[in-house]
Amino acid sequence: MSVAEEQVVSNEFALKLDQQFPGASLFVQQTVDEIATIWIERSRLREIIRFVKNSGFEMLFDLCGVDERMREHRDGLPAADFTIVYHFLSFREGTELRLKVGVSGEDANVPSIHDIYPNANWYEREAWDMFGVTFTNHPSLYRILLPSTWEGHALRKDHPARATEMEPFRMDFERQDKEQEALRFKPEEWGLTRRDENTEFMFLNLGPNHPSVHGVFRIVLQLDGEVIVDAVPEIGYHHRGAEKMGERQTWHTYIPYTDRIDYLGGVMNNLPYIMSVEKMAGIEVPDRAKVIRIMMAELFRISSHLVFYGTFAQDVGQMSPVFYMFSDRERLLRIVEAITGGRMHPAWFRIGGVAQDLPNGWDGMVRDFLDWMPKRLKQYENMAMKNSILRQRTHGVGVYTKDEALDWGVTGPGLRATGMDFDWRRDKPYGGYDQFDFEVPVYQNGDSFDRARVRVDEITQSLRIIEQCLNNMPAGPYKAVHPQTTPPPKERTMFDIETLIHHFLNVSWGPVIPAGECSVTIEATKGANMYYLTSDGGGSSYRTRIRTPSFPHLQQIPLISRGLLIPDLIAILASIDFVMADVDR
């Protein structure tokens, strides 16, 4: 949709709401990204959201809180101490909608919508944990990212950010006992019974240290023998406070933190953040920078999918393929290191472009890699995907339908494996992807095998995109000429006072981005990754909301593993392809 069309939709939807709910107070907010943003009142929240769902917004994309108490540039927005932001997505029409509800500090509660959109469950828990806003009628409003012994709500503006501003960490026996006791699983808290009429259930703890859970992830399984009756996933063991860190770092110095959100995605993570900042500042990136960014992002997509491929095969029992995939990944990382200087966390994209130009000889390296990969992929196809044991372990395991996927907020390959033909790169193109020719693999069964299938095919498509980047790399500057480009190109600094002043301010204070809100979603390696940034006209972000793809994916695990055996759960975990830093940030 074009810019003008989105604004019409915004007012259009407000009109529809006005018609449906006469007398409801609505306020339309203009945001830089032109996504329809409407403030509604809490008393009509549930009925409005039900209406939203029936109007074709199949997915609750994100639910987050904002602490508005220190915000200066509010420009006529409704009074609120805390705001809960609901972000909806319609795949049918390709539109997005944001609804906001403001509450005061003394009366910080909002009705829960987990019965309308099931994936709201964990998002509401997170908003409670981080802001202290309660959600009435939520089945299990416990802390999710921080330990249950934590006091305070971390993303509130009065909560300290630094560990050095809080008491020094000490682990003595008492603390150890207290924390371990807090980690003990109590089935009654989750509505699970300890026995039924025939059997007594066994509660098995899988994680947070376990080779098969791919990181620090804990699932407590309610077992009847080896059959999983129910499962309760627990996250928060990887919470690094990235959102709070955004408020403390400048717009430029936050870039390395974005790298480490999806640690296999490298520079792909910089992209939505940087594009959001650029949109707010009004920076237009030159073509060469766009193509370089796409090439690097696709290289990291291949790197992440190779790790997935290897660990997926390993989890169903094949010990060898992972070594082959990792050695291919080494070839890829050699290219990345030659261009960016870093292997896993280059933090190479900059506001306005990329850090440096491509080195001489990069095209030879990329060409060699493109020549090498196809036959290796064929080898892996025979070794892993055609293997009958792998097929038996994954066909029909962990099945969910397209509607279930949409209900639970699944995006990326997990959604395309159910038959939904949607990819942000093709259907809501960003950063220059509309100039590229590639296919989007879609499969129908929604089981573990198809999810792996989608990712394996995506590797081939990414190679195709990289080849197009290689053949058609435009000449030109690698950074935009704009006052907020950080760091500004040095060449012009010595010629006139204007650029010298900008250079000095930019390098010392950092860029100052005008007040506003902007969100950018990309098709990241694991699914849809969105950065929703709120600027208050300062040198750092007022609120950095990171909507990561793996957070809702883990929420869905109990749904798809009930009635299966533990080895099936292992195959499911491998096929979801999550990264804990992506979940907990």
């Binding site: 990212l145 921080l146 330990p147 971390a154 909560h159 300290p160 950010a161 630094r162 560990a163 050095t164 809080m166 020094p168 960490f169 000490r170 682990m171 603390r175 150890q176 924390e179 371990q180 980690l183 947070p208 240290n209 376990h210 080779p211 990181g215 620090v216 928060g236 063991y237 990887h238 919470h239 690094r240 406070g241 709070k244 860190m245 390395p256 933190y257 480490r260 640690y263 296999l264 790790v307 070594f323 990792f326 050695s327 990944r329 080494e330 030659a338 200087g341 292997r343 896993m344 966390h345 440096q356 130009d357 080195p359 001489n360 000889g361 990069w362 030879g364 390296m365 804990m580 830093a581």
Partner: protein
């Protein structure tokens, strides 16, 4: 097949004077202890444990190009009870700290700890409410490997430093025999040792060509 045992290091490196006297007192036990230290250092079995991004680089060091197995760390164990060494690879989160503490307690002696990456060394760039500022706040660390994440080669260097240190360690042969003290080598900073040779570099490669 004929084989014989020879000492790996005929010259015992003396670590400090107290150790020196201890060694002189017990010559027979000394040779046996040397052999045990050599065996210990060349077969350090790591624990399959990783917290965060550094774990990916640790896993990479287990794969073909970097191959940790060449250094004797062939067998990577999923249970702490069968492992010798725990590598805290990644950020130590507040929620995870009691779990790491329990895993460390489950490792049987002799055990060593490598702190891999900036986050494990000191909290790294995450001076934030939910991260412990360094795993040495509650665990004794033998080797610190800096980097964010350290390259697999850097991790291998850390392992080799640990092996050197373990080779210099002297532990009691059994709980009935010998002095029950554990004599560890002093931890030296690689920066101090190598500064002189590193400072000689005058030509730095420009990044504008591969």
């Amino acid at each position: 097949m004929e084989w014989s045992l020879t000492q790996a290091e005929p010259d015992i490196p003396v670590v400090d004077t107290a150790l020196d006297e201890h060694l002189r007192r017990n010559l027979v036990m000394t040779n046996l202890e040397d052999m045990l230290a050599w065996g210990r250092k060349n077969s350090i079995w790591p624990f399959n444990f990783g917290l965060s991004c550094c774990y990916v680089e640790m896993a990479t060091s287990l794969t073909s190009r970097f191959d940790l197995a060449r250094f004797g760390s062939e067998v990577i164990r999923a249970t702490p009870r069968q492992a010798d060494m725990i590598v805290i690879s990644g950020t130590c989160f507040l929620k995870m700290a009691p779990v790491v503490q329990r895993l460390y307690e489950q490792l049987l002696e002799p055990k060593w700890v490598i702190s891999m990456g900036s986050c494990a060394n000191s909290g790294g760039m995450y001076d934030i409410y939910s991260v412990v500022q360094g795993v040495d706040k509650f665990l004794p660390v033998d080797v610190y490997v800096p980097g964010c994440p350290p390259r697999p080669d850097a991790f291998l260097q850390g392992l080799m430093l640990l092996q050197d240190a373990v080779g210099k360690e002297r532990r009691p042969l059994s709980w009935v025999v010998d002095d029950q003290g554990v004599y560890k080598a002093a931890k030296t900073s690689q920066r101090d040792l190598r500064n002189e040779s590193r400072i000689q570099a005058t030509e730095l490669r420009k990044p504008d060509h591969v």
